[in-house]
């Protein structure tokens, strides 16, 4: 290690921990996201299983030091398999009083609290709405408090560089990261490497950040502020090669993979919106894959251009969040009517209206299922973890092109930005996506359907002899010519529904985590996967009769779901909404399922789900 120890080190005790949850919190200009991500990488390289939760304000640069300008990043790392970013904190690192105020509630008694003493100045305390400094009023006595001189030590480390104060302050996060890396035995090489790459073009910044990081590490090692350090052993992770990945990156890669495996190029029409924009950014870097990214003039043009590209024979994608879903609804209806493939990606955020743009929610489900005029059924697929976004995106494309239908892919703001280790597949191991463009004019009708899938043929314009017209008007069952015939309309409505039902043949038998039958079945969808899994496993370990089913397909629902539900006495449906899947399950299966609903712009804590399960088991 490139750390320079000063003389021999006193041997300090090392405490072993199974899991640690640490949160870095500071002003949105303090670089907390970078700090968190680097700590994540360090932990991944240390062999731990990890889960992360970034939490940042919608304001890009809120006034410094304010409560609403606080940005945080939580990392959970463990020597066993974990499914969530963690409930309660073991360590809270705060860079200013505002961060302390907004995050302290999540630190249990006796938790480690590291803060930057110099930042607890009169003006900063005032901005954080403290009348008395929490350092003076004894309110922090119940924590293991480490008021470090982060600002002072960083300044000292960079003293001879003659940097402006502003630049020095920007290195504080790396000092903090250095301290925490030492405290938890994290290798700092990955971060040194990252800094070297990231600041290649600004050698001064590069040097300053490296110095700050090393100074922080040495500070932990050489001072005796911390009585002990902590080690978290590697987790029993399946052997293989890993990388870390966020949901949005995984989504983008899933699309590219499906394009590669089908040999059909991607067209993405999109309008920037939080938290979906990163998928656009990501895909824009894959031009050498033939990926066309079109930043449209609005959400409607985003989906419209995608539909135009689908008509031209591209894998058409649009990405958005709730407000954009509203605007795209009419075009999704057209896509359903003309039966062209397309993936509409809804990276859900808290609503209604602008709501809380950077916070996750699952309240767009009913909109995805039903939010179009007329009878316009559309398959709906949801990703359950950041890594799963890759496979869900891949599957959404496959279903769209196989069944000639728009597909709604749902993730959310939590999955979008959270990350986890991914034992990524080899391209060769991914299944092929079969796309067949019709070229034979013999016996061609635009709405002649495949027997197995009920899909109509996909014809690329430019194919001689297959010139035809499609449109939003109701069309004849076979020829596609405009038809207002009453029975034809009913036939078309019904066949579009039957096509959805056909998709159930693509859904593998539902995986039940736990016993096949029993007392309580917990049914979830989307990003609640981790919390539900962790909670259910707790009870299973205690021998309780609790099982878990997590749905990938929300439309159509798996063919075996009704029968599975029937094998359990009770059904619990935790959702980050007012009970949308619950409503669907109650309606479809006449089951007296119970909801657990959290609408706080934050994922469920494991304990919240556990508490509900415990109550239901007692009843």
């Amino acid at each position: 290690m490139a750390i320079n120890p000063i003389g021999a080190q006193p041997q300090r005790p090392v405490e072993e921990r199974e899991s640690v949850v640490i949160r870095f919190a500071g002003d949105s200009g303090d670089g907390m996201q970078v700090t968190g991500m680097q700590f994540t990488t360090e932990s991944a390289l240390a062999g731990n299983d990890i889960g992360t939760l970034p939490d940042f304000p919608a304001e890009i640069r809120a006034p410094t030091g304010t409560l609403y300008g606080v940005s945080a990043f939580q990392v959970h790392f463990s020597s066993r398999n974990i499914y969530t970013p963690g409930d309660d904190l073991d360590v809270l690192v705060v860079m200013n009083p505002a961060a302390l105020k907004t995050n302290l509630a999540d630190l249990p008694q006796n938790g480690i609290l590291i803060l930057d003493k110099a930042e607890f100045s009169e003006p900063n305390l005032k901005k954080a709405e403290y009348t008395v400094s929490p350092l003076d009023d004894g309110s922090l006595a119940k924590y293991q408090l480490y008021p470090l001189e982060i600002t002072k030590m960083t300044t000292l480390a960079l003293k001879d560089m003659n940097l402006p104060n502003r630049s020095v302050m920007r290195c504080r996060n790396f000092f903090a990261l250095g301290v925490v890396s030492w405290l938890f035995h994290r290798p700092i090489e990955p971060t040194l490497h990252w800094i070297s790459e990231r600041f290649k073009k600004t050698p001064e910044v590069l040097e300053a950040n490296i110095r700050a990081l090393k100074a922080g590490y040495n500070y932990g090692e050489n001072t005796e502020i911390f009585a002990s350090s902590y080690s978290v052993k590697p987790a029993p992770i399946a052997p293989g090669e890993y990388r870390n990945i966020t949901g949005n990156t995984a989504t983008a890669l899933g699309f590219v993979a499906a394009s590669k495996k089908s040999g059909v190029p991607i067209f993405l029409g999109s309008y920037p919106i939080t938290p979906a924009s990163d998928v656009l950014h990501e895909l824009a870097t894959f031009k050498n894959f033939g990926v066309v990214t079109f930043q449209a003039e609005d959400e409607i043009a985003g989906v419209g251009s995608a539909l135009g590209a689908a008509f031209g024979g591209a894998i058409a994608i649009t990405t958005t969040a709730g407000p954009g879903m509203n605007l795209k609804a009419e075009t999704v209806g057209l896509a359903a009517a003309v039966e062209l493939p397309m993936v509409i990606t809804d990276i859900q955020r808290a609503g209604p209206s602008t709501g809380m743009p950077t916070k996750p929610e699952q309240a767009d489900l009913l909109q995805a299922l039903y939010g179009r005029h007329g009878e316009a059924p559309v398959p709906v697929i949801a990703a359950s973890t950041p890594v799963d976004c890759f496979y869900a995106a891949f599957e959404a494309v496959r279903i769209a092109v196989t069944y000639m239908t728009p597909v709604i892919l749902m993730t959310d703001g939590y999955l979008a930005n959270a990350s986890e280790p991914w034992r990524f597949p080899k391209a060769a191991d991914l299944p092929d996506v079969k796309v067949e463009f019709r070229t034979d004019p013999q016996g061609f009708f635009p709405y002649l359907r495949d027997e197995r899938t009920l899909a109509r043929p996909w014809v690329r314009p430019g194919t001689p002899g297959l010139e035809h017209r499609v449109g939003g008007l109701e069309k004849d069952y076979l020829t596609g010519n405009i038809s207002y015939a009453p029975t034809n309309h009913e036939q078309m409505v019904r066949v579009r529904y039957r096509k959805m039902a056909k998709i159930t043949q693509e859904i593998p038998p539902t995986k039940i985590d736990g016993a096949e039958k029993g007392k309580l079945l917990v049914i979830g969808w989307g990003s609640t996967y981790g919390s539900i899994t962790a909670a259910v496993r707790e009870f299973q370990a205690k021998g309780k009769s609790v099982s878990h089913v997590h749905l990938r397909f929300l439309n159509p629902l798996p063919a075996d779901l009704g029968e599975i539900i029937g094998r359990f006495e009770k059904v619990l449906v935790p959702e980050m909404n007012m009970g949308q899947l619950l409503r669907v399950l109650r309606a479809d299966y006449l089951v007296d399922a119970v909801g657990l609903n959290k609408i706080q712009g934050r994922p469920f804590k494991v304990s919240e789900i556990s508490a509900k399960i415990a109550r239901m088991l007692e009843e």
Binding site: A44, K287, A296, A301, G304, S305, G308, K426, R469, V470
Partner: protein, 340 residues
């Protein structure tokens, strides 16, 4: 157009572009003439039928694709330019036409039309302007004159109208032209030029709705008055008009004026039409009756790389620079570690 010719192209006639669908416009509608002229010029473009796509929105005009025996897509209200943009960018080999109207293109879809024009997407955009909402049975449109009495404006409309020409010029479209439904030859010439323009070609076609706004362009099309009402623009020619070719357009300060020829005013005093002059194009766009004749023809032409061309060039460059995308390479991006 980088379209591959098929053996059949040479033999195509107007009839090859006619579908077996009944045309459902009202008898006497100006749309019939436009359909006929478009079908007439198609075989002369040398583009195989299967390479041509007509995309429309909603409205009377937007039924157009059903009657063209090419590929076609009748979409939703106002969105045709957006849908066409996606098609053209992903399939630059196709020739893409957009058919829209004054309501579809300038009211509900004004945003998309503006962006398609300023981006210079290689689309041939035909805007049928009948100054009325026909399909919804006779409400005023964004091009209806102020004070227009319709079902929705019994006391007269209080909306100031939008000029399609000024709109297109404002968006800096690279081809801006106007023609009239009944001027068959003129229409064919303008359409042919639009078809051959590389970039966004915008053509306003003044079109009579004989049911809800009959006679909206009567003075412009009536045999007795049209010579005085039309200013037919020809590149490089002085702007002369009138039954006896006795009037012209002259520049006065920063505006245009109508002057009688004779009494010391000759053709050399008149403005000479220059399609490449955007300022002149803008001045012409402002000319309107009753003080001025209505200009017809190509107002402005500019050369600028089209959006689809630029987008696809970036892709070609990326492939040339980094090679055809390797999926394994991007799956392996970032910090990797091995668990054994």
């Amino acid at each position: 157009m980088s379209t591959a010719s098929t053996a059949s192209t040479a033999k195509l006639t107007r009839k090859d572009f006619v579908t077996d669908q009944d045309v459902r416009w009202c008898p006497g509608c100006g749309d019939y003439s436009i359909l006929a002229q478009v079908q007439k010029i198609m075989p002369e473009l040398g583009v195989p039928r299967e390479q041509i796509v007509f995309i429309s929105g909603i409205g009377c005009s937007s039924r157009f694709p059903y009657y063209m025996n090419t590929y076609g897509f009748h979409t939703i209200h106002g969105r045709a330019p957006a849908i066409a943009t996606g098609l053209k960018v992903s399939r630059p080999d196709l020739m893409v036409w957009v058919v829209t109207g004054d309501g579809d293109g300038l009211s509900i879809g004004g945003n998309h039309l503006m962006h398609a024009l300023r981006r210079n997407v290689d689309l041939k955009i035909l805007l049928f302007n009948n100054k009325i909402y026909g399909l919804t049975k006779g409400q005023y449109s964004p091009t209806s004159e102020l004070g227009k009495v319709t079902k929705s404006t019994p006391a007269g409309s209080t909306d100031y109208p939008l000029s399609p020409m000024l709109f297109a010029m404002g968006a800096e479209a690279t081809f801006v032209a106007r023609t009239v439904d009944v001027e068959v030859k003129h229409q064919q010439d303008v359409l042919s030029r639009a078809a051959r323009h590389k970039g966004a070609a915008f053509v306003e076609i003044l079109q009579n709705c004989n049911v809800f706004n009959d006679g909206a362009f009567e003075s412009l099309t009536d045999k007795g008055t049209k010579a005085d009402a039309q200013l037919v623009l020809e590149h490089g020619k002085p702007m002369v008009f009138g039954k006896d070719k006795d009037r012209g357009i002259r520049l006065k300060g920063l505006a245009l004026e109508v002057v009688p020829l004779g009494n010391g005013i000759g053709e050399s005093d008149l403005l000479v039409h220059d399609e490449h002059d955007p300022v002149l194009g803008f001045l012409l766009s402002r000319l309107a009756p009753p003080a001025f004749p209505t200009p017809l023809g190509v107002f402005r032409v500019a050369e600028r790389p089209s959006f689809d061309e630029l987008m696809n060039r970036q892709i070609a460059e990326a492939k040339a620079k980094s090679g055809e995308g390797d999926l394994d390479k991007i799956l392996r991006q970032g910090e990797l570690w091995t668990v054994s």
